[in-house]
Subunit: 279 residues, 2 copies
DNA sequence: TTGTAGGCGTTATCAA
DNA sequence: TTGATAACGCCTACAA
Protein backbone atom coordinates (compact mmCIF):
# COMPACT_ATOMS: atom_id res chain seq x y z
CA UNK A 1 0.00 0.00 0.00
CA UNK A 2 1.22 3.41 -0.86
CA UNK A 3 2.29 5.67 1.98
CA UNK A 4 -0.10 8.59 2.26
CA UNK A 5 0.04 11.94 3.88
CA UNK A 6 -2.10 10.60 6.70
CA UNK A 7 0.44 7.89 7.48
CA UNK A 8 3.18 10.46 7.79
CA UNK A 9 0.99 12.72 9.89
CA UNK A 10 0.18 9.86 12.22
CA UNK A 11 3.76 8.69 12.55
CA UNK A 12 5.02 12.20 13.19
CA UNK A 13 2.19 13.04 15.51
CA UNK A 14 0.99 16.05 13.56
CA UNK A 15 -1.91 16.91 11.30
CA UNK A 16 -2.07 16.31 7.57
CA UNK A 17 -1.89 20.03 7.06
CA UNK A 18 1.45 20.15 8.77
CA UNK A 19 2.82 17.47 6.47
CA UNK A 20 1.49 19.24 3.41
CA UNK A 21 3.03 22.48 4.58
CA UNK A 22 6.33 20.77 5.14
CA UNK A 23 6.47 20.14 1.41
CA UNK A 24 4.72 23.16 0.00
CA UNK A 25 4.92 25.98 2.55
CA UNK A 26 7.84 25.11 4.81
CA UNK A 27 8.02 28.68 6.08
CA UNK A 28 4.67 28.27 7.76
CA UNK A 29 5.97 25.60 10.08
CA UNK A 30 8.12 25.67 13.16
CA UNK A 31 11.71 24.61 12.61
CA UNK A 32 11.44 21.59 14.90
CA UNK A 33 8.15 20.39 13.42
CA UNK A 34 9.42 20.85 9.90
CA UNK A 35 12.51 18.75 10.48
CA UNK A 36 10.62 16.00 12.23
CA UNK A 37 8.00 15.76 9.52
CA UNK A 38 10.58 15.70 6.75
CA UNK A 39 12.55 13.08 8.59
CA UNK A 40 9.55 10.81 9.10
CA UNK A 41 8.42 11.34 5.51
CA UNK A 42 11.79 10.25 4.23
CA UNK A 43 11.90 7.20 6.46
CA UNK A 44 8.49 6.09 5.29
CA UNK A 45 9.33 6.81 1.67
CA UNK A 46 6.48 9.23 1.33
CA UNK A 47 5.95 11.15 -1.86
CA UNK A 48 2.85 13.14 -2.69
CA UNK A 49 0.67 11.20 -5.10
CA UNK A 50 0.98 13.02 -8.44
CA UNK A 51 -2.60 12.37 -9.50
CA UNK A 52 -4.01 13.56 -6.20
CA UNK A 53 -1.79 16.57 -6.40
CA UNK A 54 -2.84 17.31 -9.95
CA UNK A 55 -6.47 16.96 -9.00
CA UNK A 56 -6.17 19.32 -6.11
CA UNK A 57 -3.92 21.87 -7.79
CA UNK A 58 -5.74 21.65 -11.08
CA UNK A 59 -2.41 21.49 -12.79
CA UNK A 60 -0.29 18.48 -13.65
CA UNK A 61 3.02 19.99 -14.60
CA UNK A 62 3.22 18.21 -17.91
CA UNK A 63 2.85 19.36 -21.47
CA UNK A 64 1.52 16.91 -24.01
CA UNK A 65 2.87 16.66 -27.53
CA UNK A 66 0.25 15.45 -29.95
CA UNK A 67 1.83 13.25 -32.57
CA UNK A 68 -0.37 12.32 -35.48
CA UNK A 69 2.14 9.76 -36.69
CA UNK A 70 3.06 6.56 -35.01
CA UNK A 71 5.60 7.05 -32.29
CA UNK A 72 8.00 4.77 -34.09
CA UNK A 73 8.36 7.18 -36.98
CA UNK A 74 9.00 10.22 -34.86
CA UNK A 75 12.49 9.40 -33.85
CA UNK A 76 13.67 8.85 -37.38
CA UNK A 77 12.64 12.36 -38.36
CA UNK A 78 15.40 14.93 -38.32
CA UNK A 79 13.08 17.89 -38.07
CA UNK A 80 11.08 16.48 -35.18
CA UNK A 81 14.24 15.43 -33.46
CA UNK A 82 15.49 18.99 -33.40
CA UNK A 83 12.11 20.26 -32.39
CA UNK A 84 12.10 17.96 -29.39
CA UNK A 85 15.53 19.14 -28.40
CA UNK A 86 14.22 22.66 -28.20
CA UNK A 87 11.01 21.65 -26.48
CA UNK A 88 12.95 19.56 -24.00
CA UNK A 89 15.14 22.44 -22.97
CA UNK A 90 12.20 24.75 -22.70
CA UNK A 91 9.98 22.60 -20.54
CA UNK A 92 12.91 21.79 -18.35
CA UNK A 93 13.40 25.46 -17.64
CA UNK A 94 9.86 25.60 -16.35
CA UNK A 95 9.99 22.40 -14.35
CA UNK A 96 7.59 20.70 -16.68
CA UNK A 97 7.69 17.32 -18.30
CA UNK A 98 6.84 16.29 -21.81
CA UNK A 99 4.22 13.67 -22.48
CA UNK A 100 4.41 12.17 -25.92
CA UNK A 101 0.91 11.43 -27.11
CA UNK A 102 0.68 9.26 -30.19
CA UNK A 103 -2.62 7.89 -31.47
CA UNK A 104 -4.08 5.33 -29.11
CA UNK A 105 -5.37 2.34 -30.97
CA UNK A 106 -5.37 4.54 -34.04
CA UNK A 107 -7.29 7.38 -32.47
CA UNK A 108 -5.78 10.59 -31.21
CA UNK A 109 -8.96 11.50 -29.41
CA UNK A 110 -8.75 8.53 -27.12
CA UNK A 111 -5.17 9.37 -26.33
CA UNK A 112 -6.08 12.94 -25.52
CA UNK A 113 -8.51 11.75 -22.88
CA UNK A 114 -5.91 9.61 -21.14
CA UNK A 115 -3.37 12.35 -20.94
CA UNK A 116 -3.20 14.39 -17.79
CA UNK A 117 -1.65 17.54 -19.19
CA UNK A 118 -1.88 21.28 -18.71
CA UNK A 119 -1.68 21.96 -22.40
CA UNK A 120 -0.93 20.44 -25.74
CA UNK A 121 1.47 21.10 -28.54
CA UNK A 122 0.20 19.57 -31.72
CA UNK A 123 2.50 18.55 -34.53
CA UNK A 124 1.23 18.88 -38.06
CA UNK A 125 -2.37 18.06 -37.30
CA UNK A 126 -4.71 18.73 -40.18
CA UNK A 127 -6.76 21.84 -39.32
CA UNK A 128 -10.00 19.94 -39.71
CA UNK A 129 -8.93 17.05 -37.53
CA UNK A 130 -11.59 15.93 -35.08
CA UNK A 131 -9.03 16.00 -32.31
CA UNK A 132 -8.68 19.76 -32.55
CA UNK A 133 -12.41 20.24 -32.16
CA UNK A 134 -12.36 17.95 -29.15
CA UNK A 135 -9.52 19.91 -27.63
CA UNK A 136 -11.40 23.14 -28.12
CA UNK A 137 -14.54 21.72 -26.53
CA UNK A 138 -12.69 20.35 -23.53
CA UNK A 139 -10.86 23.61 -23.23
CA UNK A 140 -7.26 22.46 -23.02
CA UNK A 141 -4.87 25.17 -24.23
CA UNK A 142 -3.30 24.00 -27.45
CA UNK A 143 -0.70 25.40 -29.78
CA UNK A 144 -0.32 24.11 -33.30
CA UNK A 145 2.94 23.52 -35.06
CA UNK A 146 3.00 22.95 -38.77
CA UNK A 147 -0.65 23.53 -39.39
CA UNK A 148 -3.03 26.34 -40.06
CA UNK A 149 -3.99 28.24 -36.90
CA UNK A 150 -7.57 29.14 -36.02
CA UNK A 151 -9.55 31.32 -33.68
CA UNK A 152 -9.11 28.96 -30.75
CA UNK A 153 -5.70 27.58 -31.64
CA UNK A 154 -2.69 29.75 -32.33
CA UNK A 155 -0.07 28.25 -34.61
CA UNK A 156 3.68 28.38 -35.03
CA UNK A 157 4.94 27.67 -38.49
CA UNK A 158 8.02 27.70 -40.63
CA UNK A 159 8.25 30.70 -42.91
CA UNK A 160 8.20 28.66 -46.07
CA UNK A 161 7.88 31.56 -48.43
CA UNK A 162 10.51 33.68 -46.71
CA UNK A 163 13.00 30.85 -46.46
CA UNK A 164 12.53 29.86 -50.06
CA UNK A 165 12.90 33.44 -51.19
CA UNK A 166 16.12 33.82 -49.24
CA UNK A 167 17.50 30.61 -50.72
CA UNK A 168 16.67 31.64 -54.26
CA UNK A 169 18.00 35.14 -53.80
CA UNK A 170 21.22 33.70 -52.46
CA UNK A 171 21.78 31.75 -55.66
CA UNK A 172 20.84 34.73 -57.80
CA UNK A 173 23.19 36.94 -55.84
CA UNK A 174 25.94 34.44 -56.54
CA UNK A 175 25.34 35.14 -60.20
CA UNK A 176 23.37 32.04 -61.12
CA UNK A 177 20.75 32.59 -63.78
CA UNK A 178 20.01 29.08 -65.03
CA UNK A 179 18.10 27.61 -62.10
CA UNK A 180 16.26 24.37 -61.60
CA UNK A 181 13.61 23.79 -58.96
CA UNK A 182 12.86 20.40 -57.51
CA UNK A 183 9.35 20.60 -56.14
CA UNK A 184 7.57 18.39 -53.64
CA UNK A 185 5.11 15.92 -55.07
CA UNK A 186 1.41 16.19 -54.23
CA UNK A 187 0.34 14.04 -51.32
CA UNK A 188 -2.03 11.22 -51.90
CA UNK A 189 -4.75 12.95 -49.90
CA UNK A 190 -5.20 15.83 -52.27
CA UNK A 191 -4.40 16.58 -55.84
CA UNK A 192 -2.29 19.56 -56.81
CA UNK A 193 0.76 20.94 -55.05
CA UNK A 194 0.88 20.78 -51.28
CA UNK A 195 0.48 24.07 -49.43
CA UNK A 196 4.11 23.83 -48.37
CA UNK A 197 5.26 23.35 -51.92
CA UNK A 198 3.10 26.22 -53.12
CA UNK A 199 4.44 28.61 -50.48
CA UNK A 200 8.03 27.79 -51.26
CA UNK A 201 7.44 28.12 -54.94
CA UNK A 202 5.94 31.53 -54.32
CA UNK A 203 9.09 32.43 -52.39
CA UNK A 204 11.30 31.30 -55.26
CA UNK A 205 9.28 33.37 -57.68
CA UNK A 206 9.37 36.41 -55.46
CA UNK A 207 13.15 36.29 -55.51
CA UNK A 208 13.25 35.78 -59.26
CA UNK A 209 11.03 38.79 -59.80
CA UNK A 210 13.91 41.05 -58.86
CA UNK A 211 16.32 39.54 -61.36
CA UNK A 212 16.51 39.16 -65.08
CA UNK A 213 16.72 35.39 -65.27
CA UNK A 214 15.04 32.89 -67.57
CA UNK A 215 12.20 30.85 -66.18
CA UNK A 216 13.71 28.06 -64.12
CA UNK A 217 13.35 24.45 -65.08
CA UNK A 218 10.83 22.74 -62.79
CA UNK A 219 10.60 19.11 -61.86
CA UNK A 220 8.73 17.28 -59.14
CA UNK A 221 10.49 14.62 -57.09
CA UNK A 222 9.66 12.62 -54.00
CA UNK A 223 11.76 12.97 -50.88
CA UNK A 224 14.12 10.16 -51.74
CA UNK A 225 17.62 9.92 -53.17
CA UNK A 226 16.63 7.97 -56.28
CA UNK A 227 13.94 10.53 -57.02
CA UNK A 228 16.55 13.26 -56.70
CA UNK A 229 18.88 11.41 -59.05
CA UNK A 230 16.10 11.02 -61.60
CA UNK A 231 15.35 14.71 -61.33
CA UNK A 232 19.00 15.43 -62.09
CA UNK A 233 18.89 13.21 -65.15
CA UNK A 234 15.89 15.14 -66.40
CA UNK A 235 17.68 18.48 -66.39
CA UNK A 236 18.19 20.17 -69.78
CA UNK A 237 21.67 19.79 -71.25
CA UNK A 238 23.84 22.23 -73.15
CA UNK A 239 23.29 25.94 -72.92
CA UNK A 240 20.19 25.60 -70.78
CA UNK A 241 21.84 23.29 -68.28
CA UNK A 242 21.04 24.60 -64.77
CA UNK A 243 23.98 25.84 -62.77
CA UNK A 244 22.11 25.90 -59.49
CA UNK A 245 19.40 23.75 -57.92
CA UNK A 246 16.69 24.76 -55.51
CA UNK A 247 15.53 21.54 -53.87
CA UNK A 248 12.56 21.44 -51.53
CA UNK A 249 13.57 18.09 -50.14
CA UNK A 250 16.83 17.25 -48.47
CA UNK A 251 16.80 13.66 -49.55
CA UNK A 252 16.19 14.61 -53.15
CA UNK A 253 19.08 17.05 -52.90
CA UNK A 254 21.34 14.29 -51.67
CA UNK A 255 20.24 12.24 -54.63
CA UNK A 256 21.21 15.13 -56.88
CA UNK A 257 24.63 15.31 -55.27
CA UNK A 258 25.23 11.66 -55.96
CA UNK A 259 24.03 11.86 -59.53
CA UNK A 260 26.13 14.95 -60.15
CA UNK A 261 29.21 13.24 -58.84
CA UNK A 262 28.50 10.20 -60.97
CA UNK A 263 28.23 12.51 -63.96
CA UNK A 264 31.65 13.92 -63.20
CA UNK A 265 30.40 17.24 -61.93
CA UNK A 266 31.81 18.92 -58.90
CA UNK A 267 29.65 20.62 -56.28
CA UNK A 268 29.83 23.56 -55.80
CA UNK A 269 32.27 24.23 -58.64
CA UNK A 270 30.04 23.08 -61.47
CA UNK A 271 26.74 23.09 -59.69
CA UNK A 272 25.23 24.78 -56.63
CA UNK A 273 22.61 22.99 -54.58
CA UNK A 274 20.36 24.50 -51.92
CA UNK A 275 17.80 22.58 -49.93
CA UNK A 276 15.86 22.67 -46.72
CA UNK A 277 16.16 20.61 -43.61
CA UNK A 278 12.44 20.08 -43.40
CA UNK A 279 11.08 16.83 -44.87
CA UNK B 1 -14.65 25.93 -16.00
CA UNK B 2 -14.22 22.32 -16.87
CA UNK B 3 -17.33 20.27 -17.54
CA UNK B 4 -17.68 17.62 -14.85
CA UNK B 5 -19.60 14.44 -14.55
CA UNK B 6 -22.14 16.26 -12.40
CA UNK B 7 -22.85 18.77 -15.16
CA UNK B 8 -23.59 15.99 -17.59
CA UNK B 9 -25.72 14.17 -15.07
CA UNK B 10 -27.73 17.31 -14.40
CA UNK B 11 -28.19 18.15 -18.06
CA UNK B 12 -29.22 14.62 -18.91
CA UNK B 13 -31.44 14.27 -15.88
CA UNK B 14 -29.69 11.22 -14.50
CA UNK B 15 -27.31 10.44 -11.67
CA UNK B 16 -23.55 10.68 -11.82
CA UNK B 17 -23.40 6.92 -11.69
CA UNK B 18 -25.32 6.68 -14.91
CA UNK B 19 -22.87 8.98 -16.63
CA UNK B 20 -19.92 7.07 -15.32
CA UNK B 21 -21.46 3.81 -16.45
CA UNK B 22 -22.08 5.24 -19.87
CA UNK B 23 -18.33 5.52 -20.29
CA UNK B 24 -17.08 2.56 -18.32
CA UNK B 25 -19.86 -0.01 -18.07
CA UNK B 26 -22.23 0.79 -20.92
CA UNK B 27 -23.84 -2.62 -20.65
CA UNK B 28 -25.25 -1.72 -17.27
CA UNK B 29 -27.41 0.99 -18.72
CA UNK B 30 -30.63 1.00 -20.68
CA UNK B 31 -30.25 1.67 -24.37
CA UNK B 32 -32.21 4.91 -24.26
CA UNK B 33 -30.42 6.26 -21.21
CA UNK B 34 -27.03 5.35 -22.64
CA UNK B 35 -27.63 7.18 -25.87
CA UNK B 36 -29.01 10.25 -24.18
CA UNK B 37 -26.12 10.47 -21.75
CA UNK B 38 -23.54 10.03 -24.49
CA UNK B 39 -25.28 12.61 -26.59
CA UNK B 40 -25.38 15.18 -23.80
CA UNK B 41 -21.78 14.43 -22.85
CA UNK B 42 -20.65 15.06 -26.38
CA UNK B 43 -22.59 18.29 -26.67
CA UNK B 44 -21.11 19.60 -23.46
CA UNK B 45 -17.63 18.46 -24.45
CA UNK B 46 -17.31 16.30 -21.41
CA UNK B 47 -14.27 14.13 -20.88
CA UNK B 48 -13.39 12.37 -17.65
CA UNK B 49 -10.65 14.25 -15.84
CA UNK B 50 -7.54 12.07 -16.21
CA UNK B 51 -6.13 12.92 -12.80
CA UNK B 52 -9.40 12.22 -11.03
CA UNK B 53 -9.67 9.01 -12.96
CA UNK B 54 -6.14 8.00 -12.13
CA UNK B 55 -6.71 8.77 -8.48
CA UNK B 56 -9.83 6.72 -8.32
CA UNK B 57 -8.64 3.81 -10.42
CA UNK B 58 -5.17 3.85 -8.92
CA UNK B 59 -3.76 3.56 -12.37
CA UNK B 60 -2.82 6.27 -14.82
CA UNK B 61 -2.31 4.38 -18.03
CA UNK B 62 1.13 5.79 -18.65
CA UNK B 63 4.58 4.30 -18.43
CA UNK B 64 7.46 6.59 -17.55
CA UNK B 65 10.84 6.34 -19.17
CA UNK B 66 13.59 7.52 -16.89
CA UNK B 67 16.27 9.28 -18.86
CA UNK B 68 19.42 10.11 -16.99
CA UNK B 69 20.63 12.31 -19.82
CA UNK B 70 19.17 15.56 -20.94
CA UNK B 71 16.23 15.09 -23.22
CA UNK B 72 18.05 16.94 -25.97
CA UNK B 73 20.68 14.23 -26.26
CA UNK B 74 18.24 11.37 -26.45
CA UNK B 75 17.04 11.94 -29.95
CA UNK B 76 20.51 11.99 -31.39
CA UNK B 77 21.21 8.50 -30.10
CA UNK B 78 20.69 5.73 -32.58
CA UNK B 79 20.31 3.02 -29.98
CA UNK B 80 17.77 4.91 -27.91
CA UNK B 81 15.91 5.86 -31.02
CA UNK B 82 15.38 2.23 -31.91
CA UNK B 83 14.54 1.39 -28.35
CA UNK B 84 11.80 4.00 -28.34
CA UNK B 85 10.41 2.63 -31.55
CA UNK B 86 9.97 -0.71 -29.88
CA UNK B 87 8.63 0.75 -26.68
CA UNK B 88 6.23 2.91 -28.61
CA UNK B 89 4.72 -0.01 -30.43
CA UNK B 90 4.48 -2.02 -27.26
CA UNK B 91 2.75 0.56 -25.10
CA UNK B 92 0.41 1.31 -27.94
CA UNK B 93 -0.71 -2.29 -28.00
CA UNK B 94 -1.70 -1.99 -24.39
CA UNK B 95 -3.38 1.39 -24.67
CA UNK B 96 -0.71 3.03 -22.63
CA UNK B 97 1.21 6.23 -23.19
CA UNK B 98 4.87 6.91 -22.75
CA UNK B 99 6.01 9.69 -20.46
CA UNK B 100 9.56 10.81 -21.03
CA UNK B 101 11.09 11.74 -17.72
CA UNK B 102 14.39 13.59 -17.95
CA UNK B 103 16.04 15.13 -14.92
CA UNK B 104 14.04 18.04 -13.56
CA UNK B 105 16.28 20.96 -12.71
CA UNK B 106 19.11 18.46 -12.73
CA UNK B 107 17.45 15.98 -10.42
CA UNK B 108 15.80 12.79 -11.49
CA UNK B 109 14.18 12.36 -8.11
CA UNK B 110 12.20 15.53 -8.44
CA UNK B 111 11.03 14.45 -11.86
CA UNK B 112 9.95 11.08 -10.52
CA UNK B 113 7.67 12.76 -8.05
CA UNK B 114 5.92 14.82 -10.71
CA UNK B 115 5.24 11.88 -12.93
CA UNK B 116 1.92 10.16 -12.62
CA UNK B 117 2.87 6.76 -13.96
CA UNK B 118 2.06 3.12 -13.35
CA UNK B 119 5.63 2.06 -13.75
CA UNK B 120 9.04 3.14 -14.89
CA UNK B 121 11.53 1.98 -17.43
CA UNK B 122 14.95 3.27 -16.56
CA UNK B 123 17.65 3.77 -19.15
CA UNK B 124 21.22 3.18 -18.11
CA UNK B 125 20.84 4.40 -14.58
CA UNK B 126 23.82 3.67 -12.41
CA UNK B 127 22.83 0.86 -9.99
CA UNK B 128 23.68 2.99 -7.00
CA UNK B 129 21.70 5.98 -8.19
CA UNK B 130 19.63 7.60 -5.49
CA UNK B 131 16.63 7.61 -7.81
CA UNK B 132 16.48 3.82 -7.79
CA UNK B 133 16.37 3.72 -4.01
CA UNK B 134 13.61 6.30 -4.06
CA UNK B 135 11.66 4.27 -6.58
CA UNK B 136 11.97 1.19 -4.41
CA UNK B 137 10.80 3.05 -1.33
CA UNK B 138 7.80 4.53 -3.08
CA UNK B 139 7.06 1.16 -4.55
CA UNK B 140 6.67 2.00 -8.22
CA UNK B 141 7.40 -1.02 -10.40
CA UNK B 142 10.57 -0.36 -12.32
CA UNK B 143 12.52 -2.23 -14.94
CA UNK B 144 16.11 -1.36 -15.71
CA UNK B 145 17.64 -1.25 -19.15
CA UNK B 146 21.37 -1.10 -19.56
CA UNK B 147 22.22 -1.40 -15.93
CA UNK B 148 22.83 -4.04 -13.33
CA UNK B 149 19.59 -5.47 -11.94
CA UNK B 150 18.91 -5.96 -8.25
CA UNK B 151 16.55 -7.69 -5.89
CA UNK B 152 13.83 -5.08 -6.35
CA UNK B 153 14.58 -4.10 -9.92
CA UNK B 154 14.78 -6.61 -12.75
CA UNK B 155 16.96 -5.62 -15.67
CA UNK B 156 17.03 -6.14 -19.40
CA UNK B 157 20.42 -5.95 -21.00
CA UNK B 158 22.20 -6.53 -24.25
CA UNK B 159 24.01 -9.82 -24.38
CA UNK B 160 27.43 -8.24 -24.84
CA UNK B 161 29.38 -11.43 -24.41
CA UNK B 162 27.13 -13.52 -26.63
CA UNK B 163 27.01 -10.93 -29.38
CA UNK B 164 30.74 -10.44 -29.34
CA UNK B 165 31.33 -14.16 -29.41
CA UNK B 166 29.03 -14.55 -32.40
CA UNK B 167 30.79 -11.74 -34.22
CA UNK B 168 34.22 -13.18 -33.60
CA UNK B 169 33.16 -16.69 -34.52
CA UNK B 170 31.70 -15.38 -37.74
CA UNK B 171 35.07 -13.99 -38.79
CA UNK B 172 36.87 -17.14 -37.74
CA UNK B 173 34.38 -19.24 -39.65
CA UNK B 174 35.12 -17.15 -42.72
CA UNK B 175 38.70 -18.29 -42.36
CA UNK B 176 40.23 -15.20 -40.82
CA UNK B 177 43.05 -15.87 -38.40
CA UNK B 178 44.83 -12.54 -38.14
CA UNK B 179 42.34 -10.50 -36.15
CA UNK B 180 42.49 -7.06 -34.61
CA UNK B 181 40.25 -5.85 -31.83
CA UNK B 182 39.34 -2.22 -31.32
CA UNK B 183 38.31 -1.89 -27.69
CA UNK B 184 36.33 0.82 -25.96
CA UNK B 185 38.32 3.29 -23.89
CA UNK B 186 37.81 3.50 -20.13
CA UNK B 187 35.31 6.14 -19.08
CA UNK B 188 36.47 9.06 -17.07
CA UNK B 189 34.53 7.90 -14.05
CA UNK B 190 36.55 4.75 -13.49
CA UNK B 191 39.90 3.45 -14.50
CA UNK B 192 40.27 0.18 -16.35
CA UNK B 193 38.03 -1.23 -19.06
CA UNK B 194 34.33 -0.56 -18.86
CA UNK B 195 32.10 -3.48 -17.93
CA UNK B 196 30.72 -3.44 -21.48
CA UNK B 197 34.18 -3.58 -22.97
CA UNK B 198 35.18 -6.39 -20.63
CA UNK B 199 32.12 -8.48 -21.47
CA UNK B 200 32.64 -8.12 -25.18
CA UNK B 201 36.30 -8.93 -24.89
CA UNK B 202 35.36 -12.06 -23.00
CA UNK B 203 33.03 -12.95 -25.84
CA UNK B 204 35.77 -12.48 -28.41
CA UNK B 205 38.09 -14.68 -26.38
CA UNK B 206 35.48 -17.36 -25.96
CA UNK B 207 35.17 -17.61 -29.72
CA UNK B 208 38.93 -17.67 -30.22
CA UNK B 209 39.27 -20.51 -27.74
CA UNK B 210 37.75 -22.86 -30.26
CA UNK B 211 40.17 -21.97 -33.04
CA UNK B 212 43.87 -22.15 -33.61
CA UNK B 213 44.55 -18.48 -34.21
CA UNK B 214 47.33 -16.20 -33.04
CA UNK B 215 46.55 -13.75 -30.30
CA UNK B 216 44.73 -10.80 -31.91
CA UNK B 217 46.21 -7.37 -32.02
CA UNK B 218 44.45 -5.11 -29.51
CA UNK B 219 44.05 -1.38 -29.59
CA UNK B 220 41.80 1.00 -27.71
CA UNK B 221 39.96 3.74 -29.54
CA UNK B 222 37.27 6.23 -28.67
CA UNK B 223 33.93 6.14 -30.43
CA UNK B 224 34.94 8.57 -33.17
CA UNK B 225 36.00 8.25 -36.77
CA UNK B 226 39.44 9.82 -36.29
CA UNK B 227 40.11 7.45 -33.40
CA UNK B 228 39.17 4.55 -35.65
CA UNK B 229 41.48 5.83 -38.37
CA UNK B 230 44.35 6.10 -35.89
CA UNK B 231 43.65 2.56 -34.72
CA UNK B 232 43.90 1.41 -38.33
CA UNK B 233 47.25 3.15 -38.73
CA UNK B 234 48.53 1.36 -35.67
CA UNK B 235 47.88 -2.10 -37.07
CA UNK B 236 50.93 -4.30 -37.70
CA UNK B 237 52.07 -4.42 -41.33
CA UNK B 238 53.40 -7.28 -43.40
CA UNK B 239 52.72 -10.89 -42.45
CA UNK B 240 50.97 -9.96 -39.21
CA UNK B 241 48.66 -7.49 -40.86
CA UNK B 242 45.09 -8.18 -39.61
CA UNK B 243 42.64 -9.41 -42.23
CA UNK B 244 39.59 -8.80 -40.05
CA UNK B 245 38.63 -6.21 -37.48
CA UNK B 246 36.38 -6.59 -34.47
CA UNK B 247 35.34 -3.08 -33.52
CA UNK B 248 33.36 -2.35 -30.38
CA UNK B 249 32.33 1.04 -31.63
CA UNK B 250 30.45 1.82 -34.79
CA UNK B 251 32.02 5.19 -35.25
CA UNK B 252 35.51 3.78 -34.85
CA UNK B 253 34.64 1.13 -37.42
CA UNK B 254 33.56 3.80 -39.86
CA UNK B 255 36.88 5.51 -39.25
CA UNK B 256 38.59 2.24 -40.09
CA UNK B 257 36.64 1.97 -43.33
CA UNK B 258 37.77 5.42 -44.36
CA UNK B 259 41.37 4.82 -43.48
CA UNK B 260 41.37 1.47 -45.27
CA UNK B 261 39.97 3.04 -48.39
CA UNK B 262 42.55 5.80 -48.22
CA UNK B 263 45.20 3.12 -47.94
CA UNK B 264 43.91 1.53 -51.13
CA UNK B 265 42.35 -1.44 -49.42
CA UNK B 266 38.99 -2.79 -50.37
CA UNK B 267 36.41 -3.88 -47.81
CA UNK B 268 35.52 -6.70 -47.62
CA UNK B 269 37.97 -8.02 -50.23
CA UNK B 270 41.14 -7.07 -48.39
CA UNK B 271 39.70 -6.50 -44.97
CA UNK B 272 36.62 -7.58 -43.02
CA UNK B 273 35.11 -5.28 -40.43
CA UNK B 274 32.51 -6.16 -37.82
CA UNK B 275 31.07 -3.73 -35.31
CA UNK B 276 28.06 -3.16 -33.14
CA UNK B 277 25.23 -0.72 -33.43
CA UNK B 278 25.43 0.19 -29.79
CA UNK B 279 27.36 3.34 -28.88
C1' DT C 1 -31.80 -0.16 -13.98
C1' DT C 2 -30.79 3.84 -11.17
C1' DG C 3 -29.33 6.57 -7.19
C1' DT C 4 -26.70 7.35 -2.60
C1' DA C 5 -22.61 7.64 -0.35
C1' DG C 6 -17.87 6.81 0.61
C1' DG C 7 -13.17 6.78 -0.75
C1' DC C 8 -8.90 7.84 -3.70
C1' DG C 9 -4.69 11.59 -1.63
C1' DT C 10 -3.90 16.45 -1.82
C1' DT C 11 -4.43 21.18 -1.05
C1' DA C 12 -6.55 25.15 1.04
C1' DT C 13 -9.80 27.63 4.00
C1' DC C 14 -10.84 28.93 8.41
C1' DA C 15 -10.91 28.58 13.22
C1' DA C 16 -8.60 27.70 17.34
C1' DT D 1 1.65 27.56 14.47
C1' DT D 2 -1.64 23.92 14.15
C1' DG D 3 -5.86 21.05 13.26
C1' DA D 4 -10.49 19.93 11.32
C1' DT D 5 -12.88 20.04 7.18
C1' DA D 6 -14.36 20.94 2.63
C1' DA D 7 -13.32 20.74 -2.08
C1' DC D 8 -11.00 18.54 -6.52
C1' DG D 9 -13.66 14.84 -10.07
C1' DC D 10 -14.22 10.28 -10.56
C1' DC D 11 -15.40 5.31 -9.63
C1' DT D 12 -18.04 1.76 -7.41
C1' DA D 13 -20.06 -1.15 -3.79
C1' DC D 14 -24.46 -1.08 -1.91
C1' DA D 15 -29.12 -0.14 -1.59
C1' DA D 16 -33.46 1.04 -3.58
Amino acid sequence: MRVTIADVAGAAGVSKTAVSFAFNNPEKLGQATLERVLQVAHELGYTPHPAARALSLRRSGTIGVLIPQRLSTVFANQFLSELFQGLGELVEEHDLTLLLVPPLAGSLEGAIRQASVDGFISLGLSPDDEALATLARIGIPTVLIDSEGSAEHPAVNVDDAGGAEAAARHLLDLGHRQLAMILLPPTRAQAGPTPTSARRLAGYKAALAGFDAPIPYQVTAGATMPAGARAFESFPKGRRRPTAILAMSDMAAIGVLGAAEAAGMSVPDDLSVVCRARP
